[in-house]
Structure formats: structure tokens, C-alpha cells
């Protein structure tokens, strides 16, 4: 039975045709994966189904009946729910308060009937094995549990069709496993699930059917058991893709960075405990770990954004502990921050302006009187835009108008191009499409070949495995273990990430 039938849906944003006459049939009671690179239009078509956008043309059929979904309220009334990539929860409120927000429905003289709602939420949670206590405050929950609250929010509104936008992007490997259990349970109970993603292994593991989109068009549709990662990747990108990078052997040289017994405290709590490691020229040191186990603070201390309480950071035998961010940059230490939007670039600045950010004061870009040399900036930007294949290749476009992958390439182009001797990279491919991932990985390995020392922090174990020479695993601010690339096993590292000593 077909639950949702999208019939030749088209949607245009300015000059971009985000959806070009898309037809998709969603089978009831199945898990349907919608895959494609960033900007392929998969979120757009789901936002149309959810009533967030209106299609320029085309029709939506629900259970055989034509419906007009003019806004999300209509969608919910028709049993369609959506969990966005960024959760929409109010941290200081309890789970119940968050869930009933907008559908409080008080009967008795305007008094909230919290207890009744709580009971219902508890029942739903038990039914689907979500293990959520309706009375806890959202701010105390982990990201994985917050996601479950979002799912509960949809279930509470009696949703039959659940759209999930990149649901695993924020989860740890263990949480992903549990999340898939929940999806299976939802399916057992008769729900229809649409999952937007670009992680192919997950598509293969969990979905029943898969639809591939590229450049606003539907490229193909097949039962998942007929698909392989290679087929899907080639459909997504439109050409042959190397799913695994080729890593040449590089003999490590001198030690570039040496961290000795670094400690950081915050609010009387120790968040980095006695961390020591070193990185040599031409070596990639991976840092694995569930997010929030001190990786962020470690990077901030190394890049001058946070003060260390004790310990030393030696860079080429020079003490750079607690130097300012600019001084550290001037030592040829580059930093690609984990969150490009919050820390990597200025949205309203042009691509050219963003490509000199942090280096803008150098004589390369401005003369002694402080005035910019716009010709120099323009030609520098043009060079980087070409070299790093940033699209569209227009230097005076505001960076906010680029896709996530191209924004990331822009940040990478800036940080890779000032002859760094040490590169500190965090989540280099988060929210980035396959084509860009391949490109960025290749750039990292190219720098490694040029004998540059690289510290790579990533939540993607596969990424760490394919790029690093050695990997340290962090747990609660400490180094829980270290593995060489030869004996890197995802399972073993995953165990270390949860604090289990081997």
C-alpha cells in the first residue's frame, strides 16, 4: 500500500531549481531512505511534504487522497511528523512541557493537565522502548535522548508518517545502534518512516527502499536489497567515486607538537586530565571519542582560545602554552574548527573576505597604511576557489549562499593555504557531501605527504581510520587508549570511547 505519493513536485528558489518534477512513492509501514548529496533537494521535498514550503507545481496524495498541505499544522493533522536536524526543544523545560507545547489543550478552566500528559508520554515511551522519563528537564539529556524526545513529540501528535532529517549526524556509534532499534520498533507498530541521509552504510542497514536524488532530480529508486554502497554513491555523485582513500606511506620526521600533562579545569571540574601526546612531521594523529569528552577543550587550548591550567605545549621545541590565538596562528599552526557556522566563517562576508579571515592583516593583503590591496585579495581568492573547486566559483558572493560542503571547502582552503606546519582539524567533513568528503580527505593526505603534522579530531571513526597513522581515544578528558593504524578496529576503538579499558 502506498502511504504517500508525491507527483511531479517542482520547487524553485530564485534561480535554483531545488526540485525538478519529482515523483516518489512511499510504501506504508516501510523505512524509506532518501539519499543524495547536500543541495540535492532531498530536504526541500520533505519540507514540502511537511508543509514548510509550498511546491510550485505538483500534487501530494495521502492514502490515495489528494491533499493540500499548506503548513506544518495541516501536515500534523494528516499524520505527518518531522524531526529536524536541529532539535527544537527548550532546554530548561521538562520533557512533558516540551512535548505538549502547542497542543496543551487545557480543559479545566485553563489549567494545564500535566499529570495526564505525563502519563500518556510515559505510555508512549514504554510502547516504543524510548526510555524517556517525562519529568526530566531537557537540558540534562544527551543529544541521543533529545532526539527521542523529538520523536515522542511526533508520536504524541498521533503521527503515522515520520520524516527524519539526517537523524544520525549527531549520534555516537552506540547511539546509532539504539536509534535503529527504535526505528524497527516504530515500523513494527505500523509507522511509515522516511529517513533523509547521506550515510550509505546506514541506508543499507536500516532501510527497505531507497530513492536517490541529485541536483534536484530523482535519479533512481530501488529496494534496498538490490543496492550496494558503490551503486548508490555513483548515482548520488554522478560519476565513479573512491569510497576509500589511498594512503601512501610517509616516514615521519621531527616532532612538531609535544603536549605534556595538559590539564584544564572548568567550574572546579577537571575537563582535561594529564593529556600527553606528540605529533611528528608527516604524521596524522587521530583523536577519537564521543563528543564532549574533552576534544573541543583540547583543541581550544592548543589554538589559544582557552587557557590551560597546567602542563605545557611545545611546538618545535618552543613553549607556546597559553599564547594568544593570533600568535599561535603566526607560528604556522592552522585550525579548521568543528563548527564552521559558529566559528569558521562570517556568513555575510564575501568568499574572498572569508578566505583572508585571520590572515587579513598580513602584508600579502594590505599595505603599511592598513588599506587592503583588493587586487591581491581577489587574485588570491580566485586561486583558492579554483584550487579547491569551490562552487559557484565567484569570489564576491556572500559565503552564506554556498552549500555546506562548499562552505567547508572554503574554510579548508583558507587554513590549508598559508603554509601551515601543524594543522588542527576538527570534524572536517561534517554535513559535507561525498564529493567534497573525497576532496577534503585527499587534501589532508596531500599535506601529510608534504611532511605537515596533522591533528585530526573526528566523530566519524571511519574517517579517522582511513586518514590517521595513530589514534588516541579520549574519554572524560583523559586518553583512554592509543591504537596504530595497523590494528585499528572500529569495535575496539568504540569500546575505548565508552571508557572500557581493554
Amino acid at each position: 500500500m502506498i502511504a504517500v505519493r508525491l507527483k511531479s513536485i517542482s520547487k524553485r528558489f530564485g534561480t535554483v531549481l531545488a526540485n525538478d518534477s519529482i515523483d516518489i512513492d512511499i510504501q506504508a509501514n516501510k523505512i524509506h531512505a532518501l539519499v543524495g548529496e547536500n543541495g540535492a533537494g532531498k530536504s526541500t521535498i520533505m519540507e514540502i511534504l511537511y508543509g514548510f514550503y509550498q511546491a510550485d507545481s505538483g500534487e501530494i496524495e495521502l492514502n490515495g487522497k489528494n491533499v493540500k498541505i499548506t503548513d506544518p499544522h495541516v501536515a500534523i493533522a494528516n499524520g505527518i511528523g518531522m524531526v529536524h536536524q536541529h532539535f527544537m526543544l527548550i532546554p530548561p523545560m521538562t520533557v512533558t512541557e516540551n512535548i505538549i507545547l502547542g497542543v496543551e489543550n487545557p480543559k479545566k478552566g485553563g489549567v494545564l493537565q500535566l499529570a495526564k500528559a505525563e502519563k500518556k508520554i510515559q505510555e508512549l515511551s514504554d510502547e516504543y522502548g524510548l526510555q524517556i522519563d517525562p519529568k526530566t528537564k531537557v537540558e540534562t539529556l544527551s543529544v541521543g535522548l533529545e532526539q527521542r524526545v523529538e520523536i515522542l513529540k511526533a508520536l504524541y501528535r498521533k503521527v503515522d508518517i515520520l520524516i527524519l532529517d539526517e537523524p544520525t549526524a549527531v549520534l555516537t556509534p552506540l547511539e546509532v545502534k539504539e536509534f535503529f532499534q527504535i526505528l524497527k520498533k516504530l515500523k513494527e507498530q505500523g509507522k511509515t518512516i522516511i529517513i533523509i541521509t547521506h550515510k550509505l552504510d546506514e541506508v543499507l542497514e536500516i532501510s527497505d527502499e531507497v530513492t536517490v536524488m541529485r541536483n534536484g532530480k530523482k535519479i533512481g529508486h530501488m529496494p534496498t536489497n538490490e543496492a550496494t554502497a558503490e551503486i548508490l554513491a555513483n548515482m548520488m555523485v554522478g560519476r565513479e567515486v573512491l569510497l576509500r582513500v589511498n594512503k601512501d606511506k610517509v616516514d615521519p620526521g621531527e616532532t612538531v607538537l609535544k603536549v605534556n600533562n595538559l590539564c584544564i579545569n572548568q567550574d572546579k571540574k577537571s575537563i582535561i586530565k594529564d593529556v600527553s601526546f606528540e605529533i611528528k612531521e608527516g604524521e596524522v594523529l587521530g583523536v577519537a571519542g564521543v563528543e564532549g569528552n574533552g576534544q573541543t577543550e583540547l583543541i581550544e587550548a592548543l589554538t589559544g582560545l582557552r587557557k590551560a591550567d597546567s602542563g605545557t605545549v611545545l611546538y618545535k621545541n618552543k613553549d607556546i602554552t597559553n599564547m594568544s590565538a593570533r600568535k599561535i596562528k603566526e607560528e604556522k599552526i592552522s585550525h579548521v574548527p568543528a563548527n564552521r557556522k559558529a566559528h569558521g566563517f562570517l556568513p555575510s562576508y564575501s568568499n574572498a573576505d572569508n578566505q583572508i579571515l585571520g590572515f587579513h592583516y598580513l602584508p600579502q593583503f594590505c599595505n603599511k597604511t592598513g588599506f587592503f590591496d583588493f587586487d591581491a585579495i581577489e587574485s588570491y581568492s580566485l586561486k583558492l576557489v579554483k584550487e579547491f573547486d569551490i562552487r559557484p566559483p565567484i569570489t564576491n558572493l556572500p559565503t552564506s549562499s554556498l552549500s555546506g560542503g562548499n562552505q567547508q571547502k572554503l574554510v579548508v582552503s583558507r587554513e590549508f593555504s598559508q603554509n601551515p606546519k601543524l594543522l588542527i582539524i576538527a570534524q572536517p567533513t561534517r554535513g559535507v557531501d561525498i564529493g567534497a568528503i573525497e576532496f577534503i580527505h585527499q587534501q589532508i593526505l596531500d599535506l601529510r605527504k608534504k611532511k605537515i603534522a596533522i591533528l585530526l579530531v573526528s566523530a566519524e571513526l571511519e574517517e579517522i581510520r582511513s586518514l590517521s597513522d595513530r589514534t588516541i581515544v579520549m574519554f572524560e578528558g583523559e586518553i583512554a587508549g592509543e591504537v596504530n593504524s595497523d590494528d585499528f578496529e572500529i569495535k575496539k576503538v568504540g569500546m575505548m570511547m565508552t571508557g572500557k579499558k581493554l
Partner: protein
């Protein structure tokens, strides 16, 4: 695409036009003819040489305070303190000019310019420093600094520096050498009474300076970067705190330069309560002018023309007073602040 490109100009224009319409409704309600009222308004502010002269005269201090507020805005800081900063700048300039009586104009005038900027700057820089060091909110602190400034200059003009032998609350006059020329001194056939002076040219020069600094130099680049995102700037190695203090100092300096127009070019003395809210209207000017020097000049001219035109309302209409201008100003700001409405009307999506 066309609309998007000219959005910057179109939206303020629509706001002004809509405000005039609302004003027309009000005028009808009180029983006058809006066309007649607006004719009197603009005849006296735009369609005569004298009118234009006065419009420019009224616009001059607004350009300074508009620049002041806009400069803070560009660094992400809301400078409500222009009013206090201009009083401090004007008082300091007056006193220094009197103190240096006997110096030549070539020394005195540049010193007065510097003092005006410096003292206004210090008054703006203090809230900047409090923000950078302790995170004290600049809105609260600039308002507090206003209060201190009002009390301080009032004390000085009523007490120790009050000119002897007059009931008017003014200080002694500044020496001739410190005075800057009026239009009449440069173009003799312009009436001597027109108070428009070199301050207007200084204001325009400052607009050019602001434009160059903000968009053509590394310092302006940093200030705007901090204004867009503190955290991105910090990650880029930009000293966010220093930029905040600098921006507030410079913002205060522009307000201080009102002294050039008011003290050196117009009254030649510190006159108690001379500003009448020029510092606050500067917020409106910056808002309407989209924090851009060109927009600020245009917005200041509009507000200047309104000020000038308002003087003729009492004379010509029994049921209207110059307060109508305050209503118009208020409505313009309201419309500028809620430009989403117009964006929807002309079909611009956010």
C-alpha cells in the same frame, strides 16, 4: 532580482512615504489639509535657498550622531550614549578653547577638533571598556553615562563656568580664533544670519572617513567581523575586546564632533541643553540610513528638513504644532523597524 538589488534604498523610501501617509491621516483628523501642510513643510525646507541652508544646518549634528550610532552598530554594539558623548565633547571643547585664548587659529581649531573627538571618545570608550572587561551591557552603561554627562555639564554651566552678567545658561564665549567660518564668510551673498557652517563639510568628510575605514582597511574589516560574530572573530585570532573598546571610542568621538558644528560654528559657547535629543535622533538616522555613511547623510537630510519645516507649522496652522514632526519621526522609525511588512508587500523573501 531587481527589487532585491535595490532593497536597501527601496525599503527606507517606502517607510518614509508610508509615514507621510499616516501623518496625512492625522492631519485630516485634526481638521487640516495634508497637502497644504506638507507644502508648507517642504517649501520652507527644500524650495528656497534659506530653507536648504537651514535643512543642512539641522542635518549636520545628525550626521555626526548617526555616524556614531552606526559605527557602534557595525561592531555589534548599540550606542545609546551619543547624547551624553556630544555634551561632554562640547563642554570640553568650549573650556579648552577659552583656556587657550590668545593662540592662533591654526593651532586652536585643530586642538578643538581633537578635544571634541577625544572627550566624546572617552565617554563612549568607558562603556566599551566595561563591556570588554566585565561584560557589562553597553546599552545600560551608555544610558548611565548619559545621565552622568547631563548632570556634569549642567553643573559646570550653571556653576563654575557660567558667563557673568547673564540669565542665560551659557559659558563664556570662545575666542574668535577658535571659530570656524559660516557660509556667509565663504559665499558673501548668502545671508549672514544663516548659521550653516564648515561643520557640515567636516561631517561629510567624516562620512568618507568612516566609509574608507570600515570597508577599505584591515581595522574596519576586524570591526565588522566582530560585529557579525564574536566567536568567529575570536577563532580567527582577532582581538574582540580591543575592537569593541576601539569601536565605542570612535563612536563616541563622532558624537563629540557635534561640538565643531555647535560650539565652533554656531553658538560659540556652551549653551545648556542645546542638543534637544540630537543624540537620540542619531539612532533613528543610523537605522533609516542602514548604518551606511551615504544612507546616514540622506536620513540626516530628511530629518533636518523635517526639523526645519516644523518651525512653520505653528505659524501657518491653528490646529497643528511642530510636534507633528516627532510623530512623523516616530512613525518612520516604526516602519523602518518593521520593514518585514513592506518586504512582504514588494515580494522579498528573507
Amino acid at each position: 532580482m531587481f527589487i532585491k538589488k535595490y532593497e536597501v534604498i527601496l525599503l527606507p523610501l517606502i517607510s518614509v512615504f508610508a509615514a507621510l501617509l499616516v501623518g496625512a491621516v492625522l492631519i485630516i483628523i485634526v481638521g487640516e489639509n495634508p497637502l497644504a501642510v506638507y507644502w508648507v513643510f517642504f517649501k520652507n525646507s527644500l524650495f528656497s535657498l534659506n530653507g536648504i541652508g537651514y535643512t543642512l544646518f539641522y542635518a549636520t549634528p545628525l550626521i555626526f550622531t548617526g555616524l556614531s550610532v552606526a559605527f557602534g552598530f557595525r561592531c555589534g554594539l548599540f550606542n545609546i550614549g551619543a547624547e551624553g558623548q556630544l555634551y561632554i565633547g562640547a563642554m570640553a571643547t568650549t573650556l579648552v578653547a577659552i583656556w587657550l585664548d590668545g593662540s592662533s587659529a591654526w593651532i586652536l581649531i585643530p586642538i578643538c577638533f581633537v578635544v571634541a573627538f577625544l572627550f566624546g571618545g572617552i565617554w563612549g570608550g568607558i562603556p566599551g571598556l566595561l563591556k570588554a572587561k566585565f561584560g557589562g551591557h553597553e546599552v545600560i552603561n551608555t544610558i548611565m553615562m548619559n545621565m552622568i554627562a547631563f548632570a556634569l555639564v549642567n553643573y559646570l554651566v550653571v556653576g563654575p563656568f557660567h558667563r557673568k552678567g547673564t540669565q542665560i545658561l551659557e559659558t563664556d564665549f570662545i575666542p574668535e580664533a577658535a571659530r570656524i567660518p559660516r557660509v556667509h564668510d565663504l559665499i558673501p551673498w548668502v545671508p549672514k544670519t544663516l548659521p550653516l557652517n564648515l561643520g557640515f563639510i567636516v561631517a561629510l568628510i567624516m562620512c568618507v572617513v568612516v566609509y574608507l575605514v570600515l570597508w577599505k582597511t584591515k581595522w574596519g574589516y576586524e570591526i565588522r567581523a566582530v560585529g557579525i560574530s564574536n566567536s568567529v572573530s575570536e577563532f580567527a585570532g582577532i582581538n574582540v575586546k580591543r575592537n569593541m573598546v576601539m569601536a565605542m571610542f570612535i563612536a563616541g568621538g563622532f558624537s563629540g564632533l557635534v561640538a565643531v558644528h555647535e560650539v565652533l560654528g554656531y553658538r560659540y559657547t556652551f549653551h545648556d541643553s542645546f542638543s534637544q535629543g540630537v543624540g537620540f535622533i542619531g539612532i533613528a538616522v543610523a537605522l533609516l540610513g542602514r548604518n551606511h555613511p551615504v544612507g546616514i547623510v540622506l536620513a540626516a537630510l530628511l530629518f533636518g528638513a523635517l526639523n526645519r519645516g516644523s518651525l512653520f507649522l505653528d505659524l501657518n496652522f491653528d490646529d497643528l504644532s511642530k510636534d507633528l514632526v516627532m510623530v512623523l519621526q516616530g512613525v518612520i522609525i516604526l516602519f523602518v523597524a518593521t520593514d518585514k511588512l513592506f518586504k512582504k508587500m514588494i515580494g522579498i523573501k528573507n
